[in-house]
Amino acid sequence: MVIAERAVRLSERLGAEYADVRVERMHSTEIRLTQDTFDQVASGVDQGIGIRVLYKGVWGFGSSTSLKPIDISKTVKAAFDAAKATGPHAKEKVALAKVPMAKRTVATSVRMPMQSVSMEQKMKLTSETSAAARIDDRIASVTVTYNDSSGETVLATSEGTRLVGKPSRGSIVVVAVAKSGEKVGAIRERDGMQSGFELFEKVDPRGLAKKAAERALKLLGATHAPSGRFTAVADQKLAGVLAHEAIGHASEADHVITGESVLKDKIGQRVGSDLVTMYDDSTYPGGWGTAVYDSEGVLAERRLIIEKGFLKGYILNREAAAQLGMEPNGGARAQSFVHRPIVRMSNTYLTSRDQSLEELLEDVDCGVYLKGSRGGQVDTAKGSFQFSAEEGYLIEKGQLSKPLSDVSLSGMTLETLMSIDGVADDFQISIGLCGKGGQVATTGMGSPHIRIKNAVIGGK
């Protein structure tokens, strides 16, 4: 805190209207086991400072991995130089929405600190996870990645906010690949929590491994998906990705302000069917994207984005809130001190309704069931998206029939939201990573099963 406060004072002396400084020291471990050999067993310490100054209505940002006083002075000066260079050309001056000052220490509840657990024990967990996926000779490859990070973060602002964070999180990812002749099926399962190492009492890595292997084996019997327009039923994971990619990104206020969002100027308007209610929720208990305060020191909220088909709000940082005349809701996140805070999602999800999966399937004569996600991408301006499912099934006369591989869903966001004509009651949330502006954020993505009429399905 002393270092951060010194940088804030220095920024003020140089004439900053506002400054926020983040100092971090984070320990991290990454273990990757591929085909029973460890190809990455790395630990390390990331330490540094990120300084953001507002000077004559313009932002400047500087970061450095060195915390020596001389380097901190240089970094503050670099942030100013950047702001001064931009200043004369800025047409709009930045204003920040008012928020209460915060002074608090927020620590993740931890029983077994990550650093107290030996590398040997973490490696053992990784190998046991890998072994649990070896359920059949046709499992050709297994990759398990273990990650943890923990440490201390400090945020000090020129408005008096002083926050100390003691974050801790861990995750495990299993990729199982089944092969038989020319057929290849790959499935990824992952889970994680914000917690100490005791998270592996709740998250079951061996169970995940077994599940990944079973699903990969199933793909060996799969045929390539048909292409064209079908009724699609998406499972919780894929529908969660839809919520995140297609709607979540478009509801980020920075995209709205730059005109790169299909949800621009649509507050209060219908953007989806009655069945669509969506939140971006920083308060979701234990969520992968959960936080008490955002990276600007604003209390992070549960943000209602869509209610029964009507657009209700955006994800906002202080700058966007001021510009749009809305109440700030704590939606700014920075990956680390290296990066400036930008508008980000936390845990994004569609809420449950009252149908069962069977009910969603029963009136589908010919359709495609999409399960799991290999990721996706979206163009928020045009409102187009593409997601790949890990596995799929043909739906014939209300029943799941032939298994399908390499099936993807693409479409236009608004058209797709209007076409959701069934939402089940079986909500689940999973963990994910989201890339934006060169930064990676940990996010939660959730949904029940949903049904989309007339969806564009792509196969091989």
Binding site: W59, G62, A85, S141, S227, R374, G458
Partner: protein, 456 residues
């Protein structure tokens, strides 16, 4: 400092030790909503310490990194790396780190003008780009960035490797949205080099506007088989997520590449030759030695369609008792970790697709029924192990009888990368560098791929 890290590791019990260092100073100006928005200056430096500990039945490695470059922290990291190596199971194929050798020859990759560049120079470029893009009244938004970067990379190990080099980088991209009568068009363009070039960046803005304007009023197309004219960015994106991974010897040895065992066999059409060339001037992937200190030189990967070899580092080459190709690279596919924070894997420096001749328009002229496409959405969802992918196309124009006729609403392609490489019929001559990863580029022209199944 690096020598200290190596000495300290050996004293603590390592059989061999290596210290890898990068120091990057990046200046970046962001354009948002038709204005220069924020300047950022980032200094990122750190050391990755890797140790090798010999055991009765082989050897193990351990790794730890740090950004706080004090002697004390270096000692802690060395200890932690050795502790990891001690608990790891011995690998009989792990023999040695890189032996001392003379660095490779590299063209000019250092531009003093980039070193002298300050935020206000980049802001000026940004302003010129905005001026250029405002000439079209249909432009509703412009965003993008301009960067300049000065880097030093160094490797020292206990076998006598002690090498360092400096490089610079310059470039940026722009993303333009046009609006006209309720229709929206999106276009983007990028430029990257090791050398400062203001004019090229202004061109980037001009081209992005032109592309975005041509995307207005798209029409749907029928599903079916089309010839695709694919621009460099799109090709790079697909390659990085499939073929580049398949060329990695570390993945080949683990039987995770469909190219395993296919050296000497046909893996692309006869028009395709790939050379991994770390010596070319002005390419951001050029370097005299790799991240283990192995000298680099140009190597043919695919020669007229025939697969000639894989990308090796010290471990994979020792394992197969073959020559180290100097392809130790430190990166992760999805994430933003600094190179010093990672152990080396393998990857290309500059994957060069040997150019033939012709501009984009010349390739278009050869197509009767096709699509011109600049990029793909969702290439990172490709299946590396099989090379299968299913992606949406971005920035498309319909080609009919050799002419670009109209933009296309929405279309996807699915396929298999080995198959696609065999379907490449024409390789153009308009080579351009596209960033694929840290200090890693694709240098390729526009290509023509025959008979691709498109679902619309």
């Amino acid at each position: 400092m690096l020598e200290y890290a190596v000495r300290r590791s050996i004293r603590l019990g390592a059989s061999q030790a290596e210290a890898f260092f990068t120091d990057d100073m990046d200046t970046n100006i962001l354009i948002e909503k038709k204005q220069v928005k924020i300047g950022q200056v980032k200094r990122d430096r750190g050391i990755g310490i890797r140790v090798l500990v010999k055991k009765a039945d082989g050897a193990t490695t351990g790794f730890s990194y740090l950004t706080d470059l004090s002697r004390n922290t270096i000692g802690e990291a060395a200890k932690s790396a050795i502790a990891t190596a001690r608990v790891r199971k011995a690998d009989k194929d792990l023999k040695s780190f890189q032996m001392k050798a003379h660095a490779g020859q590299v063209g000019d990759i250092f531009d003093r003008k980039v070193v002298r560049t300050d935020p206000s120079d980049l802001v000026e470029i940004g302003e010129s780009m905005l001026k250029e893009s405002s000439s079209d009244l249909r432009v509703s938004t412009v965003s993008g960035n301009i960067y300049s970067s000065v880097s030093r990379m160094a490797v020292v190990n206990s076998l006598g490797v002690s090498a360092s080099y400096r490089s610079t980088a310059f470039g940026g991209n722009t993303y333009v949205v046009t609006e006209s009568n309720g229709s929206i068009g999106v276009g983007w363009e990028s430029y990257s080099s090791t050398h400062y070039d203001q004019e090229k960046m202004i061109h980037v803005a001009k081209d992005a506007v032109e592309i975005a304007a041509r995307q207005l009023k798209p029409k749907p197309i029928q599903s079916g088989s089309y010839d695709l004219v694919v621009d460099q960015e799109g090709f790079a994106d697909l390659l990085m997520n499939t073929f580049v991974q398949e060329l990695r010897a570390d993945l080949v040895q683990k039987n995770q590449s469909p190219l395993a065992g296919r050296t000497g066999s046909e893996s692309a059409s006869r028009s395709v030759s790939f050379i991994d060339d770390p010596s070319m001037p002005r390419l951001q992937g050029s370097k005299p030695f790799d991240t283990e200190g192995c000298p680099t030189k140009p190597r043919t990967v695919v020669d007229k369609g025939i697969l000639r070899g894989f990308l090796h580092n010290s471990y994979t080459s020792n394992k197969e008792n073959t020559e180290n190709t100097g392809n130790a690279m430190r990166y992760i596919m999805f994430g933003a970790k600094s190179e010093y924070a990672l152990e080396p894997i393998t990857g290309p420096h500059n994957l060069v697709l040997k150019p033939n001749k012709g501009e984009r328009e010349d390739l278009v002229r050869e197509v009767r029924n096709g699509i011109f496409v600049r990029g793909f959405i969702g290439a990172h969802t490709s299946n590396v192990q099989s090379g299968d992918f299913s992606v949406a196309m971005d920035c498309m124009l319909r080609i009919e009888n050799g002419e670009l006729t109209h933009p296309i609403k929405q279309a996807m392609i699915g396929g298999n990368m080995p198959a696609i490489l065999r379907q490449i019929r024409v390789v153009g001559g308009n080579s351009k560098q596209v960033i694929m990863g840290p200090r890693m580029t694709l240098y390729a022209p526009t290509i023509l791929i025959e008979g691709v199944t498109v679902s619309a």
